[in-house]
């Protein structure tokens, strides 16, 4: 590698796009190899996820869900990144990343139970390689790093993927995770959904780095920046990162530039820190309508398809929220028994207060 004079410098990078806002393929080289059925499936999942989000916000207002972090606007990053992986790969989500773990195999009613504060929400079924959503921002980054080391030690070809946001990229755990992944050349993908805000704090106040992707440089891993409203760019970047990881070439940090259309949570008011103009600009970039334009031109999707998927999603959400609501309540003695493999005597005695 050639050397530059003693001052380290980097340059701004342009985010990768595959689809133009008009739904044209503008980067054939990076177009992932997807069958028509796969393209339709991706679209199906994005529309389903948007409808689920709409319904979840309403369920939250009705008091039928607890903490819920809306996802609309981020369907391309969430659906696309998971779609690009194999079932055997491991997903370590942040608190907003429910769609990834549901599409990876967590039953939807359990996602609702998690939101409702029921332990069964985190009881991941056997064979589904996901962790529960993480509340401590950045902690999951280290878990993904550790899980990736497990794959490496077991000489398995799987990868781990972990998600955080622009805020999470300022955490110490973020830097520690990247550095370990570089040092041990681990098969892990650090996927940052830069949606512009850490609750209320804008990205401009988060870092002086040229981009989040640049932070990979310090850790000696690959960093890429992509258009997070372009599901095909997301799939392309994650597939490439996963392929490199499976070949033993280590970790990739992916920064996907996206936007959450809704507030941070159901108790947040985005009008306090975002302008209508800005929201309008991002609405124009809606990842679902962009993909729809592409698929409509190819004759793979119609407005009727969208309407059909919405109905299906609504029916599924209704069925699954009912299932969640009918699940037997947790009990304190049950909670006590989940602290250790064998409940110690003093805890056993404390059950008496709740029986």
């Amino acid at each position: 590698m050639s050397k530059v004079p003693y001052e380290v410098y980097t340059e701004e990078v342009e985010a990768l796009s595959v689809l133009s806002p008009e739904g044209e393929i503008i980067n054939k080289d990076k177009m992932p190899n997807l069958s028509d059925d796969q393209l339709k499936e991706i679209m199906y999942r994005m529309v389903f996820t948007r409808t689920w989000d709409d319904r979840a916000v309403n369920l939250g207002r009705q008091g039928r869900l607890g903490f819920y972090a809306p996802v609309s606007g981020q369907e391309a990053t969430m659906v696309g990144s998971e779609f690009a992986l194999e079932k055997e790969d491991f997903v370590c989500p942040g608190y907003r990343d429910m769609p990834q773990i549901v599409w990876h195999g967590l039953p939807l009613y359990q996602a609702f139970l998690y939101s409702r504060g029921h332990q069964h929400g985190g009881q991941i079924p056997e064979g589904v390689n996901v962790l529960m959503p993480q509340i401590i921002i950045g902690a999951q980054i280290l878990h993904a790093m550790g899980i990736a080391m497990g794959f490496k030690l077991k000489k398995q070809k799987q990868v781990a993927i972990t998600y955080t946001g622009d805020g999470g990229s300022s955490e110490g755990d973020f830097y520690e995770g990247l550095n370990y992944a570089g040092r041990f050349k681990l098969p892990v993908i650090f996927f940052v959904q830069n949606n512009g805000y850490a609750i209320t704090t804008p990205f401009a106040k988060q870092t002086a780095a040229l981009s989040i992707a640049h932070k990979a440089v310090a850790a000696g891993i690959r960093g890429v920046k992509i258009d997070g409203m372009d599901v095909l760019a997301v799939i392309s970047a994650v597939q490439e990162a996963a392929e490199l990881a499976r070949k033993g070439e280590g970790a990739t940090l992916i920064e996907a530039v996206t936007y959450r259309f809704r507030p941070h949570s159901l108790s947040d008011d985005a009008t306090k820190y975002r302008t209508k103009d800005e929201e309008g600009e991002w609405n124009e970039k809606d990842p679902i309508s962009r993909m729809a334009k592409y698929l409509e031109k190819k004759g793979l999707w119609t407005e009727e398809d969208t309407a059909r998927v919405k109905e299906e999603a609504k029916a599924k959400v209704n069925e699954q929220i009912k299932k969640a609501e009918q699940t037997e309540k947790m009990t304190v003695p049950g909670l006590i028994d989940s602290m250790f493999e064998t409940t110690p005597k003093h805890l056993e005695e404390q059950k008496a207060d709740f029986q």
Binding site: L131, G146, I147, E176, Y180, S338, M339
Partner: protein, 326 residues
Amino acid sequence: MAQMNMKEAIRDAMRVEMKRDPNVVVFGEDVGNVGGVFRATEGLQKEFGEERIFDTPLAESAIGGLAVGLGIQGFRPVAEIQFVGFIYEALDQMFVQAARMRYRSGGRYNAPIVFRTPFGGGVKAAELHTDSLEGLAVQTPGIKVVVPSNPYDAKGLLIAAIRDNDPVFFMEHLNLYHAFRAEVPEEDYTVEIGKANVVREGSDVTIIAYGMMVHTATKAADELEKTKGIKAEVIDLRTLNPLDIDTLVASVKKTNRAIVVQEAQKTSGVAAEVIAQINEKAILHLEAPVLRVAGPDTVYPFAQIEDTWLPTPARIIAAVNKVMEF
């Protein structure tokens, strides 16, 4: 039987378990090539290779997170935090992520991790190397806390900790690493977590301690017997969570008097908890209040005054005299 000091017994526990179970992996700062700053893992990398025991970059939270991730993958991580004060950098991974894994996943995942760390005063170390931080750990649901006081217990407890399917915070007193040698079986054996040990029998007063203080308490007990004919029973807690209250209560029922000795600051610590549980289970057997001998509620001091800051046999004797004369 071999003669081992506590450090060698700890090393032997890791060797036995690494041999027995290929899923046991050991890592931390400087633990691989040279075997740790105290050489507790010396020779293990040569024996088991760099995939089983390795040096990590210097980042304690990542050591904790790595352990959690490897635990999910079916490994049994033994993670060393180089000095006790450095656990502050890893608290989320140790006390939240590992300790809550079973609960958060409803039993789907667990964290079969041992977090080993040296701690404890009296060796003139740098700041934040010798604090007694077990109080933080015993306030944390979901993690067991073990403190051996001798080579035999150290090996048996560490093997038990490595085989445990829940996280264990394993605290090794710095002053005991090289303090003395004792007979330790070369084969594998376990000392049950959650069981205290009566290390000196007596009928007049119970002295409850753990770690280095077991030895300080025993010294005081010997002195009391010699000078005043007071027969003190000394109990080594060995495990701070879960506490073996039954052994303590049985002793108090016999002696009717007790004191608790800890290096840690006096307020709201292990000693306070021991006393609360004795009150709950044996108050009618007490002839006097149960007293504490502990460090004062200050930060752990710089080396110059640590010997006077730490509980001494004289302070223990004074406390025993108080409960005897009550």
